[in-house]
């Protein structure tokens, strides 16, 4: 057998991403936990706020606090199989660019967040949101969700890669992730609030989506620069 040539970064990232999604399909723990957590949180908000429906700023806050806390569950589990079964070492032994792992893990987290939102956002609309906005408003909300998810996926992968190297990994995940994700939560909540307002114009102003885009760009570059050092000994 002639020695195979190493795969490209994209090829290696695709292999890891396919493995991640296959593992989650086989034993769907992360997504189920995230979805159940979201449903429970809506119920808690319902009783804590003593309101049947919410709208505007309050609706946006409830939605983004729920999605962010649910995302923490996904972040906490991102490297669990690799840690427990030595998958991280298996990857590190391969002749591939370590950044492929960042792309794959961020891609997997992005997929989990998107799948979660397919369940959690309609559930929010049914359980807590006042009169449902129109289709155009929903599309604008999807754009905000996508921008926020990108940031959460990149920062979440960075934090998970740091946490997996420590003994207090569960603690580290929450302690590091929440402050780092604060700008995403603020910008996403501000961008979503007019879309969820009862009597608003449901317009998406450019300022907060731009903040989200800038956050994604800055942390994307930071993660690209740092990830190699994080997974090395």
């Amino acid at each position: 057998m002639s020695a195979p040539s190493p795969p490209s970064t994209l090829g290696a990232a695709r292999a890891v991403l396919a493995k991640e999604l296959r593992l989650e399909r086989r034993a769907p723990q992360t997504l189920v936990a995230m979805a159940l957590f979201s449903a429970m949180t809506y119920v808690v908000f319902h009783f804590a706020l003593r309101r049947d429906t919410v709208e505007g700023d309050l609706a946006s806050g409830v939605l983004w606090v729920t999605l962010t806390l649910a995302a923490l569950l996904g972040i906490g589990r991102l490297f669990v199989a690799d840690r427990d079964e030595g998958g991280l070492e298996g990857f590190l032994l391969a002749p591939v660019d370590r950044t492929a792992l960042l792309f794959a893990k961020a891609g997997a987290l992005l997929a989990f967040l998107a799948a979660l939102e397919l369940v959690a956002v309609p559930l929010f609309a049914v359980l807590l949101l006042g009169p449902s906005p129109g289709a155009g408003t929903w599309l604008r909300l999807v754009a905000v969700l996508l921008l926020a998810d990108l940031g959460i996926a990149v920062v979440g992968t960075l934090v998970a890669a740091i946490a997996v190297q420590t003994r207090a990994r569960d603690l580290i995940t929450s302690i590091l992730a929440l402050p780092l994700l604060l700008p995403v939560v603020i910008a996403a909540a501000r961008a979503s609030a007019p879309l969820l307002a009862l009597h608003g114009d449901h317009a998406l102003t450019g300022r907060w989506p731009a903040v989200l885009g800038l956050y994604d760009l800055v942390f994307g570059l930071l993660a690209y620069a740092l990830f190699d050092f994080l997974v090395e000994d």
């Binding site: 020695a3 195979p4 040539s5 090829g11 296959r22 079964e85 070492e89 298996g90």
Partner: protein, 237 residues
């Protein structure tokens, strides 16, 4: 220990190699050289530094001081050039329990640049060689420890590496299984090997060079033929 022509780098070389975990030196001033196609067998009690030496050579741990090279490439500066040419078999099998044997091997094959028919044929060949062809589609969770170890051997040699780094490779294997993996990771594989062992007689029989470690220090380095089982036994006292 090297008798290769001048100018040819040894397959494995270390010089004053030190690896510390905090204040504790797991490896302390280890210097050795191994020529291509030879086997270095490493003896020593638990905690002597055997696994650490293998992990440094596999680029999984960085040396704290000194140098280590594999196939002429420095493991610290040129780790990327070393990785595709080594096969590592440690205490953990590096396999996912929720994936089948074939899926695990296909994943590692892709990470090493093997794809399509070439990958499928290689996976079938290896599963057949270790007697797992009929269980290849079962999830690894359902395997016994011996079967997992056989599959881990397949993973380690999947990309046909030039150098094998083997940490007690026959652990959990019954005599028949040990015989099955022999052509893949044994002396007959023709590869350069670094093997850790606790079995003086068996280890000396399969090694060309014997290295004895005690508390991270190099207590013995000699041609295996010149070393007695009693000398190995001394390392454990």
């Amino acid at each position: 220990m090297s008798t290769e022509p001048e100018g040819t780098p040894p397959a494995i070389a270390t010089s004053g190699l030190v690896r510390r975990y905090g204040e504790r030196a797991a490896l302390d001033e280890v210097t050795l050289s191994l020529e291509t196609g030879s086997t270095l067998v490493v003896f020593g009690p638990n905690g002597a530094g055997k696994s650490t030496l293998l992990r440094v050579l596999a680029t999984l741990l960085r040396p704290t001081a000194g140098t280590a090279s594999v196939l002429g490439r420095d493991v610290r500066r040129e780790g990327w050039a070393v990785r595709g040419r080594i096969g590592f078999l440690g205490h953990a099998p590096l396999l996912y329990g929720d994936l089948s044997a074939r899926e695990n091997l296909a994943y590692h094959a892709r990470l090493h640049g093997l794809r399509g028919t070439a990958a499928t044929e290689r996976i079938d060949e290896l599963l057949g060689a270790v007697g797992l062809e009929r269980r290849g589609d079962d999830r690894v969770h359902a395997y016994s420890r011996g079967m997992v170890q056989r599959l881990a051997v397949c993973r380690a040699v999947l990309h046909d590496p030039e150098v094998l780094l083997l940490d007690e490779p026959r652990a959990n294997l019954d005599p028949a299984a040990a015989e099955q993996v022999e052509p893949l990771i044994g002396r007959s594989s023709g590869r350069t090997r670094v093997v850790t062992s606790h079995d003086p007689a068996g280890g000396l029989a399969e090694g060309d060079v014997a290295l004895g470690l005690r508390a991270g220090r190099q207590a013995l380095l000699a041609p295996a033929a010149d070393v007695t089982a009693e000398q190995i036994g001394e390392l454990y006292r």
